[in-house]
């Protein structure tokens, strides 16, 4: 089962992501409301998530900074940026995000990205 970590400071959106992912049969291993918490959860996770849905504008540590750190720790996890701030799209993709979803986006857009990524996921040796 695909494992996802949600990083989003808007709790309403966090909850809705959980609902969507549940309907897609995806396991949510955790949710963080800022970049620092995301890194902490990521480090502590015994099995690393396959996908992270990452917001950008968050308190304490933003999505770009968190992505850089996570990618440097472990580059098998695919990061989907989900932000209303289109100005960070180029930077997000440069530092290792595999997709950028501009809010507001449809469920099918998220579903398609996850499907696409899940096909690329290779079992860890």
């Amino acid at each position: 089962m695909i494992k996802v970590l949600i990083v989003e400071d808007d709790y309403s959106i966090q909850d809705l992501y959980k609902v969507i992912l549940k309907t897609l049969g995806i396991e949510v291993i955790g949710a963080a409301d800022n970049g620092e918490e995301a890194i902490k959860l990521f480090k502590e996770a015994p099995i690393k998530p396959d996908i992270i849905i990452m917001d950008h504008r968050m308190p304490i540590k933003n999505g770009i900074e968190a992505t850089k750190e996570i990618v440097s720790l472990y580059n098998h996890t695919k990061i989907i940026f989900a932000s209303a701030d289109i100005t960070v799209k180029k930077r997000a993709l440069e530092i290792g995000a595999v997709a950028f979803l501009e809010k507001p986006f449809s469920i099918s857009t998220l579903r398609n990205e996850i499907t696409k990524i899940s096909k690329q996921l290779k079992p860890i040796q």
Partner: protein
């Protein structure tokens, strides 16, 4: 040397509307000043006095004196710089030039153009830019987050028709309703924040009780799940405040209700009087049974506004509005854990109003 009769440009300098003076770089004595500067200073005995005394009200040469730059370089081009004269509280654009005095000595010529109005315009322009950035950010982030929630919840309700057992649509409808309220509140707080920036409403002795009751009544009317609000202390106290006081209480109550997972939000409001080394204060505490505020967020939650702290919590402007109004009252606000060290047990928002 007291007159400028030997300088062929005297007539021109005296006609220029900006202050001009010439001084000796070694003695700092003023050798000449034009009519506009002489009239402005209303002092007949300026020639021969020290420039730093006359223009800056100092006892020794200014630490920002440009003589070293002016006389230290080979170039004959003017040295142009900007300076805030703290004595006159005016900004000047200074154009300094080495010229030859009638006895052949190299002296300092300075024309100081008053750019105070320009500086104020620049400052207003920067402020306007910050506001524009703020609104852009608000739309780019908060409004789109609200739209995202409404969009996703609506799609889930639509798709759920195919599989009605999968989700509780009532929860999703509740999300949509909450997001609409959140949007309306955001608009209301943006208006309020904007008003706070643009207008100055004088403070007067104001009873705490009346705006508090108004805020409680607004909350009870608007909330589908009625919160329990308990009061302790004598609220018939006066503080120096204005019409915005009600918005402080309203936003604190909304905050306690919105960030709350309990079936019924409970808010305990206490008023007391305290004295410390800083003075006498009226202390108000708003304790709730909500989710609490994690340590890293305790300052950030008050920091959103036109001069935005980009690390601030993204949702809502309520607490920033509260902080802004309290700044106007010279009051302080901070948040503590209701139970020390356990944020999840709820928050205690504390305000200290100076006693009027």
């Amino acid at each position: 040397m007291n007159s400028l009769k030997d300088i062929k440009f005297k007539a021109i300098f005296d006609k220029i509307d900006e202050p001009i003076y010439i001084s000796d770089p070694e003695t700092y004595e003023i050798l000449y000043m034009n009519d506009i500067l002489r009239n402005a200073l209303k002092n007949e005995k300026i020639i021969g006095q020290k420039c730093y005394q006359i223009f800056q009200n100092l006892d020794s040469p200014c630490n920002f004196c440009t003589n070293n730059i002016l006389f230290g370089k080979k170039s004959t081009s003017p040295y142009i710089w900007e300076h805030l004269n703290t004595h006159l509280n005016r900004w000047y654009k200074c154009i300094d030039q080495v010229i030859e005095w009638h006895d052949g000595k190299k002296v300092r010529f300075e024309m100081a153009v008053d750019i105070t109005n320009l500086k104020e315009s620049e400052s207003n322009y920067r402020e306007a830019l910050q506001r524009a950035e703020f609104f852009k950010d608000l739309f780019a982030h908060d409004v789109n987050n609200i739209l995202q929630s409404i969009y996703t919840a609506s799609e889930l309700i639509r798709d759920n028709k195919k599989n009605p057992e999968m989700l509780d649509t009532n929860d999703l409808i509740e999300i949509i309703l909450n997001q609409v309220i959140r949007g309306a509140r955001l608009v209301s707080n943006v208006r309020l924040l904007s008003k706070l920036e643009e207008t100055e409403v004088p403070l007067k002795k104001t009873l705490v009780n009346d705006p508090l009751k108004s805020a409680m009544s607004i909350i009870q009317k608007d909330c589908s799940e009625k919160p329990i609000i308990e009061l302790e202390g004598n609220f018939e106290k006066k503080i120096m405040a204005n019409e915005f006081l009600v918005h402080i209480f309203e936003n604190l109550l909304i905050n306690a209700i919105e960030h709350n997972d309990q079936e019924i939000a409970k808010i305990f409001i206490k008023i007391s009087e305290i004295s410390n080394s800083e003075g006498d204060f009226l202390k108000m505490e708003f304790k709730d049974n909500g989710k609490g505020v994690m340590d890293g967020y305790k300052e950030l939650i008050f920091n959103r506004g036109f001069r935005d702290d980009k690390r601030s919590k993204s949702i809502g402007l309520g607490l920033s509005v509260v902080k802004k109004i309290l700044d106007m009252y010279n009051a302080r606000i901070w948040v503590e854990d209701k139970v020390q060290g356990i944020p999840s047990k709820g928050s205690n928002f504390i305000i200290l109003f100076p006693k009027s």
